[in-house]
Symmetry: C2
Subunit: 235 residues, 2 copies
């Protein structure tokens, strides 16, 4: 673990958890937070472990994965700058439900769970913001479940890319780049299909000029055409 | 719609949304709520419609279903007594994300979204309770997603039954009954498999004495043996 980093209240201004809050409240939350750099590949917390801290990401990205009793590991989501992770256990069973691993060098903030809970009790807007964040994630998970049951793999992959664009898209010269360094296997996990199927679909879309892979990043050259695939009639 | 029913604060005592709250706060929430009976089969709200009310169930059960742009409908969850539904849109985009239909004659409470939001602002514990409720549902959805990607259908059906037992199990003379009137198709939707597969698995378990169907209700005679199937090694 690197040396502690001072936390500036401005760093919290772009976080959905602290939206619509007066500056002094953000300052109080910043004063309670600890910040640290996390090197690429470092495990931030382990599934099943007592949730000793509640986390948010300042920069970089984090992969959240979950294993079942059978040991099979699946990707749950990516966390980008400004997003919280490992915070819900503060209000439920106190155990991390998944593993969190830095995908690139990252800077995270974290709070003592009791401090975050006290902040939420004192400032209901923080709790209300958290309902909105968790509610949005629930909506996405339910959408994925429905898609898994009813849609063709290429539509599910298209929808997965659109959701990642929405979460972490950055406009470049020739399209919109997804800021997470994506493995084909990650896309397969989110879309609920096999590595083989995803590789075939992505290769086809690359050939057709819809996207291009650049240094482990996908650049979507034509989001509209990906959207057309996602919305295509039939299964 | 039937005539309005007076709402007693005691009715709110068993709701997770109002847990750990002083009696006067529950009384205030009760005073703001409207109650009505809903006959079996009646649609309570429609997907995509403006969320004009935030809902909770006093008795009966409600089926939440969601359709995609392709028109395919899937079951999202069952709502039992004491549970909230159609409340998250108050804090997100203001639109119901799914349809809600009474599965049996039911009594529901509902609030004006602005009233519920004001309650949450004034009493942060209500917002905190809502994070815990939505967070638990998110955890379940993620578990289902992981299972879909990695597990055999019989294990997924077993896990589906265990989750329903946990949500709505009532001990009877010869086992534990799931209080929701379940169609085989509902179980298939939740477990992410086909009606045909579920019918085959349930028939097999009936033959082996693990469960019995009684007036549209499943009675699990041996939860331990269902749990053993859910936890069986291998996929």
């Amino acid at each position: 673990m690197a040396a502690p980093i001072p936390v500036d209240a401005k760093a919290l201004a772009d976080m959905a958890l602290f939206a619509s809050l007066p500056v002094p409240v953000r300052a109080a939350a910043a004063a309670m937070a600890g910040a640290r750099t996390v090197a690429r590949g470092v495990r931030i917390f382990d599934q099943g472990e007592r949730a000793g801290r509640a986390h948010a990401l300042l920069s970089g990205c984090v992969r959240i994965t979950q294993s079942g009793s059978d040991g099979e590991e699946g990707l749950v989501r990516f966390i980008g700058p400004g997003e919280i992770f490992g915070c819900v256990p503060v209000l439920t069973d106190g155990l991390y439900p998944a593993d969190a691993t830095a995908m690139v060098d990252a800077v995270e903030l974290s709070w003592d769970p009791a401090d975050l809970l006290a902040l939420m009790q004192r400032h209901s807007q923080i709790a209300i913001n958290m309902v909105a964040i968790v509610g949005k994630r629930l909506g996405e998970a339910q959408e994925r479940l429905r898609e898994l049951a009813t849609q063709r793999a290429d539509r599910r992959v298209a929808r997965t890319l659109l959701r990642l664009l929405d979460q972490a898209g950055r406009r470049t010269g020739d399209g919109v780049q997804i800021e997470f360094p994506l493995r084909r296997k990650d896309i397969a996990d989110i879309a609920g299909t096999t590595l083989h199927t995803v590789s075939r679909i992505i290769a086809d879309w690359e050939r057709r000029g819809l996207l291009v892979t650049r240094h482990r990043h996908l650049v979507i050259r034509s989001p509209d055409r990906i959207r057309a695939i996602a919305d295509a009639p039939g299964n």
